[in-house]
Structure formats: structure tokens, C-alpha cells
Symmetry: C2
Subunit: 395 residues, 2 copies
């Protein structure tokens, strides 16, 4: 456990360095044309974009420096050197580094949507490869109620790799679409990271303690650098984090989920992101018209945010979109107004849903509410993971 | 050997993809503000910069895809799985990926000089760490004539890591300072890569065949993607490669040099770069005044390049700069003109030296001459490495 202590000290140092570096590098980003204007503010200051690359780099460097500390001990006893774990850590960092590069390239070059799905797949290759070489275990444990039909476990073979690749794509993009107000991307990532750390600590006493130690080795420096980023990205944001940050965060969570074998638990921590994704599906797949931005609408007079809306011409409504709209109306999940020619509904994101249900509010309050929801979902996840899971799996 | 054949096929595919992708992505780079104007041309077209990131990414992806092919076989026999080699390959790719990221960040953000020295050091960390964990052999074999004093081998301990770190810094920057005319950075890298490949093939019959196979696994996809880049970067350049390319190339050479244990031979292949570096030292360290750019001067009338010059006020000349100027004059390595108040000399780069010795010439001819010199140095390197080395080392 001593190496975890060293890692905590290293990570504290990483926090300080990230915190100091971000204000120093801000002008460099603006000068390079990497900046945006905050749409929910009255001032039109140039806010540096893609600052996630700074925290990401410090996160990687901290991990590099940590390698000889954790594996230097194993060196003494070359017979029992944990080659597997070493290769896993390297592959994990390689995937994260790759995602950092591709995310930054996306921020700079503004790549098209199809690349956004392709990039995480490419970056997860080292991960899948090391999984193939080290474990190649493609077996799912079947929940108790279903064992009558499927047996104790099912080997899904190649499909398992598809599942893992899709997990990486999902994690990276899910954070990216629950975004747009100050501090939300970083805030939710901090809550997820903390949830994973707590879960790891609980499981350190179990027989999978090695996998959970591995996860801690990655999550602790990630958490430290992300907290430093949050300090500058929290309302009112002095920096924006860019796709870079969302990609790196998603990939980091995918790495620990896959290599430490708790992908189902990580998905539980992603509950708000899953809800937001499912809620967004009709617009993401253009079944219902989707504007370029679905950010909440800022009112300069009141300094409050309210749900943004989209107008659907009645003649464009087909059977599927009509059905979806009806179901969502019955479930009270959209606010609609109608005239003779068109229907107006709120844009279907979790952020807008909060604004509909709780009324217009300030940006910082909205972020806090969404954070609180993320924390609530973590609690739900722990309830599902611990008391409930025993009904479905042998403990 | 069958895996090398597969790698060659994969690399041929990588060549095709890189070749097709570069023209497609050009506009994206220009739109993002990543472009430059060719100073040695009359037209002032916007030429996309930092295109090395494209070939670098394809190079990495090819290597990722190759991993299961080369290590999938070892999977069958888990008892003898070559964990060391697997970790080495991952660490090598991690260092290269890191350098790609930092190089691209440098191109986008235009970082300061001190970072240019720091970045390769950071990126070489995974490499040094895997070296520490896997080998930790810090012993130099002493040349025969010196064994009387030093013994057969000398263990230099921690200094060996300093040496390796500096090798990475040197390789990355040495290519970067022998640059500035169309096709030169990429051309020299192709010659060096080809030299390493030939050396590896020769050594495949030796007892270090494993190390040389490892080197081929990295060099073949690197060579393929770099050749595709050269096609677009050769005179007249349709794309510029940026620091990204120089950094990635230097790190790739450093990776094979360190992990395959032939750093001295790689340094021999860097002969023109070493000459250029030593010749540049007085200006790089500002002992002799150094202008912002030391590129050759382009004459639009003749379409020829001639050596660029720098003016030194006589009152600024101190003892050291006077001494250096005198030595270089005696050795006919500078062309100087003098009046009462100042001395004018050519800027001290290998490119300008060629122009002084061979007279003004066209850009494409100059690049070709420098390429020919690089090839000549490779031949010298092979003579030193094979017939001559037997005088200094037991074969």
C-alpha cells in the first residue's frame, strides 16, 4: 500500500503544477486561435479552448513517473515480475495518450462527426490488443434468473471485443454530449472518478484486489489533475476544456473498466450520461429535427438559463417521430406548444429537462443540480451493485 | 519471418492510406490556421503545416494493428509468452505517441525553446522506465585500445539513463535544425530509416536477431508512412511537415536505438546531423550572433538559392568568438567579408556550407545534394561499423 501513498503525494504535486500551468498557458491558446466565447455570458471575452490537453499531459507524465515506483520493487525479484500488469498499464496509458492526441487534433482541426466515432475506436486498439494477449477471457457471467436458459456463463467470443470497443466509444462521447454549461464536463467526470475510487477502495479487501489497485494507479493522478482543471473551469469559466478533455476522461474510465473487469459497475456510474444519451437519441439520429446547438437559452436581462426549443413543421412529422413525441408527452418528458402549422418542443437533453422541471435558474445553480443528480445516481449505483446484485449473482 | 511479410503488406496499405489522406485533410489544416508560406518560392500560397501528424497517426495505427499479429502466435504458448518484448513494443509506441502529441502541440501553440528540450525528455520517460524494468543494463563495452585502463566493460549506472535521455533529445532536435528547404526533413529521415532497415537485415543472422526483428517491426511502418509524406513534401512542397514530424522521427530512431541496443550505430547514421549540429553550435549558443531564420536566401530572378549571411559588429566580437572565427576561416568553413566596422559571414548550417562550396543552385538540386551526402555518410557508417569496428571491439 506504500506505493499508493507515494502516488497520492505525486498526484498532489501534479495538482499544483496543473493549477499553476493553466493560467500561464492561456494566452498561448488564445494566440493560436484556440478560443471560444461563452454563450451564456453577457461579456464576449475570448476564453481559451482545449485546455484539457494541459491536465491530460500532466496526468500522463505523473503516471510515467509512477511506473518505476510501482514496478521497481518487482525488479528485485525478476522471477515473479508482474509482466501482465506492466503491459496492461503501458497499454492503458497508450490508449489514453492516443485519445489525448486525437482529441486535441479534433479541437484544432474540428473533425467531422464520423471521425468522432472512429477516433475512440482507433485509440482503444492497444487496450483491446493487450486484453486479447493477456486475458482473452470473453465470458459473461449470466445473472441467476437467466441461468436456466443460458447456463452459468456464456462465451460471446469476438462480440466481447465489439462490446469493449463500443464501451470506449460510448464513454468518450457520452461525456461530450452532456456538456455546454460551465464546469459540467469536468464536474461529472470528477464525480464518476470519485465513485470509481470509492468502489476500488471497498474492493481492495476482496480477491480482485490487484485489479482494483491497478485502477487506483490510474484514477488517482487523473482525479488530481482533473480537480485542478475544475478549479479554472468552474463558473465563471476562465478556460474551456474542449473535446480533448471529454475524450481523455471517457477513455480513462474505459481503460479501468476493461482492464480491471468492472465495466458493468462503471456503466452504473454513467447513469446520468446513459439517460441523457437515450433521451437525446431521437434528435441525435435526426428522427426529430436537431439544431446545431442544443445549449440552454441565456437571458441577459434575468441572468438565468431556460430550456432551448426546436420547431418542427407538422408536415415533416412522420409515423416514428409522431409516436416518439406522443410517448414523451405522456411521460411528461417534453414541454410542447402547438399551433396550426408546427409543434415546438424543448431540445431533448438532460440539461433542458432539468430547466423544464425546475424552472429557469442561474448557470452555476444548474451545474450544481446536475452534479447533485450525478452523486445521487452514484448512490443508486452502489445500491444496485451491493445489496441488489446478490439477487442476480452469487456473491 | 512470416510476420515481417504481413507487416510489409500492412505497411504498403498504410502508404496508400497516408497518400490518399494527406490531400483530403489539407484544407482542414489551412482552415485551422495551420499553414505557412514557402519562403523560397515566388508564389505566396498557403501551404498546410504540421502534416506530419497525419503520417504519424497512420504509423501508430499500423503498429497497433500489427501487435496481435506478432504476439498472437505467442498467445498459444502462454508459458513462453515474450512479455519483455511485448512491454518494450508498448513502451516504444507510447514514447512515439507522446512525442506526436507534444510535437503537434508545439506546432499549434508555438512553444518556447526550453519546452523543445523538455518535451522529448518527457516523452522518453516510458522508454527509460521500460529499460530500467526490463534490462537495467548500464554497461558500456570498452574499445580494445582502452581496456588496459578501463577493463572490458564499464558500468556507468545512472549516467546511462542520462545518455539515453539525451539521445532522444538529440535525435529529435538534430533533424529539426537540418531543415528548411523542401523535402529535406523527410528525405534525411527516409535515408536514416533505410540505413537502419539494411543494418537490421544484415544483423538478422547474428545472435541479436530478436532485437533487430523488434527494430524492423517499428521501422517498416514508419518508413512506409514517411515515404507517402515525402511524395507530398518533395519539391515543390504541397504540404509542410512541421515539428511534429521531426519529433516523431527522432523519437522513433531513439526508440529502436535504445531498445534494440545499437545506439552507437544509429549515431553513425546521424553523421550529417552531428556535423550540422557541431557547425551550428557557435550560433545556437549565441557565441556568434544568430538571426531568427538561417534559411538560404532565395533569389526570385535566378530561381536559385544562395547562402544567407549574418553581420557581426566588430565591437561585439569577444575573445571566444574571434577564436572560433579564426579557426573556421583557416579550415575554410566560413566565407567572410570584412569592412572597417563589421564582419559578414555565412550562417553556419550545413545547407549554407553546401551553397558556399558548390555555388548557388536550385532548391531541388540542393536537397538532392544533401540527400546524396546523407547516403554517402551511411556508407561511411557501414565501413566504420563493419571493417573498422573489428580493430576496436572483439567481433
Amino acid at each position: 500500500m506504500w506505493e499508493i501513498l507515494i502516488l497520492v503525494v505525486l498526484s498532489a504535486l501534479a495538482y499544483k503544477i496543473t493549477d499553476g500551468l493553466i493560467p500561464n498557458l492561456k494566452d498561448l491558446f488564445v494566440k493560436a486561435g484556440l478560443y471560444g466565447v461563452d454563450l451564456c455570458k453577457t461579456n464576449k471575452n475570448k476564453i481559451p479552448e482545449a485546455i484539457g490537453v494541459v491536465s491530460g499531459c500532466i496526468f500522463l507524465v505523473t503516471s510515467f513517473i509512477f511506473i518505476p515506483i510501482v514496478f521497481g520493487n518487482g525488479l528485485m525479484d525478476t522471477q515473479h515480475f508482474p509482466h501482465n500488469e506492466f503491459a496492461e498499464l503501458l497499454a492503458g496509458l497508450l490508449s489514453i495518450c492516443c485519445m489525448l492526441l486525437l482529441g486535441f487534433a479534433d479541437d484544432v482541426l474540428d473533425l467531422r462527426w464520423r471521425y468522432k466515432l472512429l477516433l475512440p475506436t482507433v485509440a482503444s486498439l492497444p487496450l483491446l490488443v493487450v486484453y486479447f494477449v493477456n486475458f482473452n477471457s470473453t465470458t459473461f457471467v449470466v445473472p441467476l434468473p437467466l441461468r436456466y436458459w443460458f447456463g452459468v456463463s456464456v462465451n460471446i467470443g469476438f462480440l466481447y471485443y465489439i462490446y469493449m470497443g463500443m464501451l470506449a466509444v460510448f464513454c468518450t462521447n457520452a461525456i461530450n454530449i452532456l456538456a455546454g454549461i460551465n464546469g459540467l464536463e469536468v464536474g461529472q467526470s470528477v464525480v464518476i472518478a470519485l465513485s470509481i475510487v470509492v468502489f476500488n477502495i471497498i474492493e481492495l479487501r476482496g480477491d480482485q484486489y490487484k485489479a482494483h489497485t491497478f485502477s487506483l494507479h490510474i484514477m488517482i493522478p487523473y482525479l488530481a489533475t482533473t480537480l485542478a482543471l475544475l478549479k479554472h473551469n468552474w463558473y465563471p469559466s476562465k478556460v474551456f476544456v474542449g473535446d480533448t478533455f471529454c475524450y481523455v476522461s471517457g477513455m480513462t474510465f474505459a481503460v479501468v473498466a476493461i482492464l480491471s473487469h468492472f465495466s458493468k459497475t462503471v456503466l452504473l456510474f454513467f447513469l446520468p450520461q446513459i439517460i441523457n444519451f437515450l433521451y437525446s437519441v431521437p434528435q441525435l439520429f435526426h428522427i426529430i429535427p436537431c439544431p446545431r446547438h442544443r445549449l440552454p437559452k441565456y437571458s441577459a436581462e434575468t441572468d438565468l438559463l431556460q430550456a432551448s426549443r426546436t420547431l418542427i413543421a407538422k408536415k415533416d412529422i412522420n409515423f416514428l417521430s409522431k409516436l416518439i413525441l406522443q410517448i414523451l408527452t405522456i411521460l411528461h418528458l417534453v414541454e410542447r406548444t402547438e399551433d396550426e402549422e408546427s409543434i415546438t418542443i424543448n431540445n431533448m437533453t438532460l440539461i433542458n429537462l432539468f430547466l423544464i422541471k425546475l424552472g429557469p435558474m442561474s448557470e452555476v445553480r444548474l451545474t450544481s443540480k446536475l452534479m447533485a443528480f450525478q452523486v445521487f445516481c452514484t448512490c443508486v449505483a452502489f445500491v444496485i451493485r451491493y445489496p441488489l446484485a446478490s439477487y442476480f449473482y452469487d456473491s
